[in-house]
C-alpha cells in the first residue's frame, strides 16, 4: 500500500543543513497497522509527512496505492491526499466550526449534496462514538472527543490510509487506550492501513503489527512487533522496550541493596525471558518440581503482544547447587532466556 524508496529529507543547506530523514526505505502492506517509534528529533514526524508530501522529500520516491506521489501535479496530489487521512497530536480542529462542520470540511466539492453530506457526517460521528456531539464546538470537547472528531474528519473521503502523527501523545493513558481501540476497530472493519508515529512503546505494543525504530533519521530496526519485542537488536530498541517493562528495575534494587535482593549463600537471581511464541507450559512450577529448587519471584511482567505472551520474570533460585545448574539448563532447553544477575553460589 505504501512504498517509501530511499527517502531523505534535509532542512537548510551547507553546513547548517539538518538531515531529518536519511535514506529510509519502508514497505507497508495493505490493511496493516505499522508503527514508527523514535525519540523526539529522530525524524519520525518528518518521515510520516513525506508519505502525503506535506514535506517533499529531498530525494527518493513515495508510492501510495501504486501511485508515485512525487511525480504528481499539484492538482493530482490534492486528489491523492483526499485518500490519505491524517490525524495530529494537537487535533488541529477548526475552532469556529462545530463538530459537524469540521467533519463536513473535506466533503465540500466532493460532489455530494448537502443532504448526503449531512447523512455522511452523522454516520462518521456514530462510527467514532460521538454521534451526540454534532453541534458542539471543539472548545467544548475533551481531548479524547477532539481526537475522535479528527478521526471522523480524516475518514470523510473514505481514505485507504490513515496517518497518525503522535495521535495519542496529548491524551491521558485511559483515553489513549480508548483511541487505540477505536483505531484498531477501524482497521478491522474498514480495512484501512494505519501508519502510527509514537514515542511510546506501549502504543506500539497495543495495536501495531509491525514496527520500525528510528534514530538520527534512519530506520535502525524493523520487523514484526512480537519479534522486535522478543529479540531487540539495537540498544535504542532495547531502551524503548525497557520503558514498557519493570524487569529492569532489579538492577536498580541491587544497586540500592534492597532487602528483597539480598541473597543467602548458594542462591542466585536470574532474569527469565520468554522470547518464543510457545510459552504456555507452566515452566516455573515444572522446574521447581523436577529439580527440587524453589523460585521466589521478585518481578513478573508478562504481556500479550500480537496474541502471544511476552515478557519474563525475575526470581531468586535456591536449592542444591547441582540441581540449580540442571534447572537452568532445562530452562534454556525450553527456549527461555536465562540471565544470571547476581550469584551467591560461591559464597557457600
Amino acid at each position: 500500500m505504501i512504498e517509501l524508496k530511499n527517502i531523505s529529507k534535509d532542512f537548510g543547506s551547507g553546513e547548517k543543513a539538518v538531515h531529518a530523514v536519511r535514506d529510509v526505505s519502508l514497505s507497508i502492506g495493505s490493511g496493516e497497522i505499522f508503527g514508527i517509534i523514535g525519540f523526539s528529533g529522530a525524524g519520525k514526524s518528518t518521515l510520516v509527512r513525506c508519505i502525503n508530501l506535506l514535506e517533499r522529500p529531498s530525494s527518493g520516491s513515495v508510492f501510495v496505492a501504486g501511485q508515485d506521489l512525487t511525480a504528481l501535479s499539484a492538482k493530482d496530489l490534492r486528489a491523492a491526499r483526499k485518500k490519505i487521512g491524517m490525524i495530529f497530536q494537537h487535533f488541529n480542529l477548526m475552532p469556529s466550526r462545530t463538530v459537524a462542520g469540521n467533519v463536513a470540511y473535506p466533503l465540500k466539492g466532493s460532489g455530494l449534496s448537502k443532504e448526503d453530506i449531512r447523512k455522511k457526517v452523522a454516520t462518521l460521528l456514530e462510527l467514532v462514538g460521538i454521534g451526540d456531539k454534532a453541534d458542539a464546538y471543539p472548545s467544548q470537547l475533551s481531548g479524547g472527543q477532539k481526537q475522535r472528531v479528527a478521526i471522523a474528519r480524516a475518514l470523510a473521503n473514505d481514505p485507504q490510509v490513515l496517518l497518525c502523527d503522535e495521535a495519542t501523545s496529548a491524551l491521558d493513558p485511559q483515553t489513549t487506550k480508548a483511541i487505540l481501540h477505536l483505531l484498531k476497530h477501524l482497521n478491522e472493519t474498514l480495512g484501512i492501513t494505519i501508519v502510527l508515529i509514537t514515542h511510546e512503546m506501549a502504543v506500539v505494543k497495543e495495536i501495531c503489527d509491525r514496527v520500525a525504530v528510528m534514530e538520527y533519521g534512519r530506520v535502525v530496526e524493523q520487523g514484526e512487533v512480537f519479534t522486535v519485542f522478543a529479540e531487540p537488536k539495537q540498544d535504542i530498541t532495547k531502551s524503548f522496550i525497557h520503558t514498557t517493562s519493570n524487569l529492569q528495575k532489579v538492577e536498580a534494587l541491587i544497586a540500592e541493596d534492597s532487602p528483597v535482593t539480598r541473597l543467602q549463600p548458594g542462591e542466585l537471581i536470574v532474569r527469565l525471558s520468554y522470547v518464543q511464541r510457545n510459552v504456555n507450559e507452566p515452566i516455573i512450577s515444572a522446574v521447581s518440581q523436577m529439580f527440587n529448587v524453589s523460585l521466589n519471584i521478585i518481578f513478573a511482567d508478562i504481556t500479550i503482544v500480537q496474541d502471544s505472551p511476552i515478557g519474563g520474570t525475575v526470581a531468586i533460585i535456591s536449592g542444591e547447587k547441582k540441581q540449580i545448574t540442571k534447572a537452568i539448563e532445562y530452562l534454556i532447553e525450553k527456549n527461555v532466556g536465562v540471565e544470571v544477575i547476581k550469584d551467591a553460589r560461591a559464597d557457600r
Binding site: 492538482k75 491524517m86 495530529f88 480542529l93 477548526m94 470540511y105 472548545s139 474528519r153 480524516a154
Partner: protein, 226 residues
C-alpha cells in the same frame, strides 16, 4: 432640543448646518476610505501571509517587495503622505480638495496599517490548521477562504475596529488640508475663533462615534469566538 443646544453651546447653535455638514463629511470619508482600505488591506494581508517563507504559496520576490512597500508607507507621517500623494490624487479624482480629494490619501494612509493588522490576525492562526487542510487536499484558494479568513473573522474584526478608529483620526488631518469634516470644523471655529463649546461638542461626538465603532466590533468578535 434646539433650546438646549442654544443654552449649552451658543456658538454651535449658530453653526448647526455647518456642523451637520462636517459630521456628514467625516462619515463619508471614513465610510469610503474604510471600505476601500478594507478590501485592499485584506487582499495585501492575505498575499503577505501566503507568500511568506514557509507559506502555502511561498514567493520571496512578491513577499519582500510587498513587505518593504508596506513598511515604507507605514513610516511616512500622514500629514506628509497627504501632500506627497497629491499628484496621484489629482490624477485619480481630479482634485485634492473636499471629501473626494481626501479619500486617496486616507486609503494610502490606512491600507498599510490595516494590511499589518490582517497579517498579524492571520499569523495568530494555529499553523496546524493549515497543515490539516493541506492533508485533506485543500487547494491554496480554499485554504485562504475556508481556513485563513473563516477562522480569523474575530481577529480581523478586532483589527478592523482599530483601523476604523485610527482612520477617524486621520480624517481630522485630511480635513485641515481641505477636505472639511469634524476636524476642520473644530479647528476653524473652536480654535481659530476661540469658540470652545464647538471644540467640546466635536470631541464629544467623536468619542460617541468611537464608542459605537468599538461596540459593533466587539459584538462581531464575540459572535465569532467559540
Amino acid at each position: 432640543m434646539q433650546e438646549l443646544i442654544v443654552n449649552i453651546a451658543p456658538n454651535l447653535a449658530s453653526k448647526l448646518p455647518d456642523f451637520y455638514k462636517a459630521l456628514g463629511d467625516t462619515m463619508l470619508m471614513v465610510l469610503w476610505s474604510g471600505l476601500i482600505s478594507f478590501v485592499f488591506g485584506l487582499l495585501l494581508g492575505v498575499v503577505l501571509t501566503v507568500t511568506k517563507p514557509n507559506g502555502i504559496l511561498e514567493n520571496k520576490v512578491v513577499y519582500q517587495i510587498l513587505d518593504k512597500l508596506v513598511s515604507l508607507f507605514r513610516s511616512i507621517p500622514f500629514i506628509i503622505l497627504l501632500t506627497w500623494v497629491m499628484p496621484i490624487t489629482r490624477a485619480l479624482v481630479g482634485t485634492v480638495l473636499y471629501v473626494r480629494g481626501a479619500i486617496v490619501p486616507l486609503v494610502f494612509g490606512s491600507v498599510p496599517f490595516f494590511t499589518r493588522q490582517v497579517e498579524s490576525a492571520l499569523a495568530e492562526l494555529d499553523g496546524g490548521l493549515i497543515e490539516a487542510a493541506l492533508s485533506m487536499g485543500s487547494s491554496p484558494l480554499e485554504i485562504i477562504f475556508r481556513v485563513y479568513l473563516k477562522e480569523s473573522i474575530a481577529a480581523i474584526a478586532r483589527g478592523t475596529t482599530i483601523t476604523i478608529v485610527s482612520l477617524l483620526n486621520l480624517t481630522a488631518m485630511a480635513g485641515v488640508a481641505g477636505a472639511g469634516g469634524l476636524g476642520d470644523f473644530a479647528i476653524r471655529y473652536g480654535h481659530d475663533r476661540n469658540m470652545a463649546d464647538i471644540t467640546n461638542v466635536t470631541v464629544l461626538v467623536l468619542v460617541l462615534i468611537v464608542c459605537v465603532i468599538e461596540f459593533a466590533g466587539g459584538r462581531i468578535v464575540k459572535k465569532n469566538t467559540h
